[in-house]
Symmetry: C2
Subunit: 517 residues, 2 copies
């Protein structure tokens, strides 16, 4: 999809020519926070979870974790960690780990620059965020190509427009046309102005994190003290498995905790490559790495918000590359949810797949991952829309397909009422054997909103569908992308705030931006 | 896919030209019975399940169920049911219902004509069976068309060839080129000779049921007494919702129980059409109808094998037609599993979708239905392969796509070992921070079989995939269909048994077959 076909900004949402189909942005479900009241699906016994917990403590005690930032090492040693002869590996007694992680909150509120976008994460509350970080993007018309700032803008239009996206995942695609030292500034500016949803920052480089923290503060129009009192931006911290926390990531945990902003500690434990080939071994290692990160967060600031992240999956046995949305991935996601609840922590999982095309494979892998996450009690479903090709491509059509899937899961999580009206005994008695419920008062009172109304699914019969063009779901998704881009409305922002953001970006760009890693 | 492109029969399985890719029939998982040891996913409280149970008893007591066969009405009245003034509606006291259903077994063994295909259903044991009954079939090359006996033969080749199909669902497509009075005979002969897996019979007409019972008995080469001592064929009994059991279906329950063969009692309760618009109301009605059918079975023969079937879904609000694989469908499937376990009965659910094309929609609806069934403790996943277009079409490519999905779920249900080898502490200690596990002994000992190996999914990187032709999953499925058909091997059958089957079909055909309904 070329830029010239893309949305014109600031078009008023509901001024459509007569007779035009309603926009997907009009037909979609309203913005709302999702709450999951179902008892999670748990595939391991409590004893087995305890065994993984104790194995993790043993790993941190006996093997230790290499921490590549002096600040973090000093912090751990100050609290009782033992530095190894290599000057990097820290070993911790189980009691130290358990005491350190105990202060992490089980749930917390997040504050957006638009209060209507505030969220709660943990204790049944959950949110969906977009794909983050692919170098490529793709659409049906133009194929796969390196991402640009214009592509990022278009993904931000979709991310802002669709209500079931609760938080921005970061850069839905990397704007490779912008020089690295200033990319975080230009991309950050775009995220903060084109959307009023809670943003993410990247901790790959300390100066970039600090720049983005400052941009988010400016977008809230508040001073540093006020900023520190609210959770306004999140970061994902990946460990460097096995058992390493890189310098930028360790600094990121500390900086974010000092600013009282949430981090998602997500080990990238690939069973058979950077973690044991047995799934339970990979999960024991994931858990050890996650606990180490959480410990750094809590020792920096007791009660700092932190999310237990899980990304364990298996490799492709032929190539050593990761495979996503596999049966092993689904099991790992469910067990990770159990581990997160073992620690009373919010749980992050993902909607990810391995497919190179937006196709049937991408879809069953997506559903394997997402049903496991949702049934497993996920609180932050990250990478929830647009991910393709093992995370190397962001797809516009996949984004909209994922919107349909996310709306379906939101509807799935709406509990059914088991009261008199729900049980409908009077309606059943009134209709009697051999009747029908189409005209029953019980039906007519509830019909319009009783069931999930799809954006993408076509439920017409075969002849009606064929006469309407016989488009498959991928072709229909492409049409929905175009329409949603055209109907994007930029959220309001006070001119003074917009100017402060622009001024910061320009000043820091003149200064050369952030150093390249 | 035209008949002339199809398989040549009796080709030996493993004699492939050198250098040819291995057949999907060689690469697939071995034949095995699946056992689910996970605690089921339950989205309603035990109290809510009791409320649905009591509502169902109240429906059977206060409203009653119309039973359109005198044999079944007499049976119910003989045990205390009260016949209404209309001469058809039976009302039952709750105590009568509860006493009648208590004798149904929680699990039972099924016997195939080939003992290697024997199965157990219930108490964690589960089986997958194929699509059943569509009038149309479709493939990518030839499109959608009315089914023929040749098409049925090709679906039987796939059903026999793929190990994760445990039972035949019936006729995977209706052979519309065969006259109705003898269709059950010719189709039954094909099912019983082209496959050695447990077959299904249809109870739409009493003579057809009795013919098929006789054919199955002949295929086992046993006498009537021996046949009655084994469970060799199953039937699905659909109620005529709301609250009716048609004559042929009521007779079918009794005939099957008299022959000691299992039935799956499956109400077709469409919320908003033939059942209340509230999902819980539809489930209360489903449960009442299921209990009524189970009662007829148990009053006919105490301990007769019976499966609790669930098919509740919502309608398309615009057309009144059913929609499958929806969020409501997933909730209904999970709650139905809870209800089946409330009665300690095996639970049947389905892999169904609404899509007109083998596409992304078909896939997410399929996954919504199947993940709900599997996590909800299904024992018989019926319609598990090939269903398309709300059940009006059987698709060859969808069949193979479903095979991949079923294999993934079979792998998902393989429990992970949480012992010393599983936890891999020694391997983690040996590799240490910053190493890798590729060359670890722990990895090398387990690598070859550690993870699910796909038939259809392509996990290569983008460039390798593109250079190999860039085929999407649907195109790859079409190639797998051709290869699986070509590699079909007909199962052994004693010539005398084959002749007895043919002789029965020919005699009954000369007699005019079965009457047309």
């Amino acid at each position: 999809m070329a830029e010239e076909h893309m949305a014109s900004k600031r078009r008023p949402r509901h001024r459509q020519p007569r007779g035009r189909d309603p926009s997907p942005l009009e037909r979609q479900q309203p913005w709302r926070q999702i709450h999951n009241s179902y008892r999670p699906y748990e595939i391991l016994s409590a004893d087995a979870i305890e065994a993984i917990h104790h194995a993790s403590l043993e790993i941190l005690h006996r093997v230790g974790i290499a921490v590549h930032a002096a600040r973090a090492r000093d912090l751990l040693v100050r609290h009782g960690g033992v530095l190894g002869d290599d000057g990097r590996t820290i070993r911790c007694e189980p009691a130290l780990v358990e005491a350190a992680i105990a202060s992490a909150p089980s749930a917390f509120a997040m504050t957006a620059r638009n209060p209507a976008r505030n969220l709660r994460l943990g204790e049944g509350f959950l949110a969906f965020s977009t794909v983050s970080g692919p170098p490529n993007c793709a659409d049906l018309a133009s194929g796969r190509r390196p991402g640009t700032l214009a592509d990022l803008g278009n993904f931000l239009r979709l991310s802002q427009g669709f209500n079931c996206i609760h938080m921005l995942g970061g850069h839905m695609v990397e704007p490779l046309d912008i020089a690295v030292p200033v990319r975080h500034l230009e991309a950050g500016y775009l995220c903060l102005t084109m959307s009023d949803k809670i943003p993410r920052l990247y901790c790959h480089n300390r100066q970039r994190s600090l720049d983005m923290l400052e941009l988010v503060r400016l977008s809230h129009g508040c001073n540093a003290e006020e900023f520190r009192s609210r959770h306004a931006v999140f970061a994902v911290i990946n460990t460097n498995s096995p058992l390493q926390i890189d310098a930028a990531m360790a600094d990121g945990i500390i900086d974010m905790a000092e600013w009282n902003q949430p981090v998602v500690i997500t080990p990238f434990t690939l069973a058979g490559a950077m973690a044991p080939v047995t799934l339970i071994g990979a999960l024991a290692q994931q858990n050890a790495e996650a606990l180490a990160g959480i410990m750094i967060s809590q020792l920096t600031r007791r009660g700092a918000p932190v999310i237990y992240g899980a990304f364990t999956t298996n490799v492709n046995m032929r190539s050593g590359a990761p495979a996503f949305g596999t049966p092993e991935y689904a099991k790992a996601a469910l067990i990770s949810g159990q581990l997160a609840r073992r620690y009373r922590l919010p749980f992050r999982s993902s909607n990810i797949n391995t497919s190179n095309a937006v196709d049937i494979q991408a879809t069953y892998e997506t559903m394997m991952a997402t049903f496991a996450a949702v049934s497993g009690g996920v609180n932050l479903l990250h990478q929830a829309a647009g991910w393709l090709e093992g995370g190397l491509t962001a797809s516009f059509e996949k984004f909209v397909i994922d919107i349909e899937i996310l709306q379906m899961f939101a509807s799935f999580l709406s509990p059914e009422s088991v009261d008199g009206d729900g049980l409908a005994l009077e309606a059943i008695a009134a209709v009697g054997p051999g009747g029908h419920f189409f005209a029953a008062a019980h039906t007519l009172e509830r019909y319009a909103t009783a069931f999930y109304a799809p954006l993408l699914s076509d439920w017409r019969n075969f002849e009606a569908w064929r006469q309407a063009g016989g488009l498959d779901a991928l072709q229909r998704a492409a049409a929905l992308v175009k329409r949603a881009l055209a109907d994007y409305v930029e959220p309001a922002m006070a001119p003074a705030i917009r100017e402060s953001l622009r001024a910061y970006v320009e000043r820091r760009s003149r200064e050369g931006g952030a150093p390249v890693n």
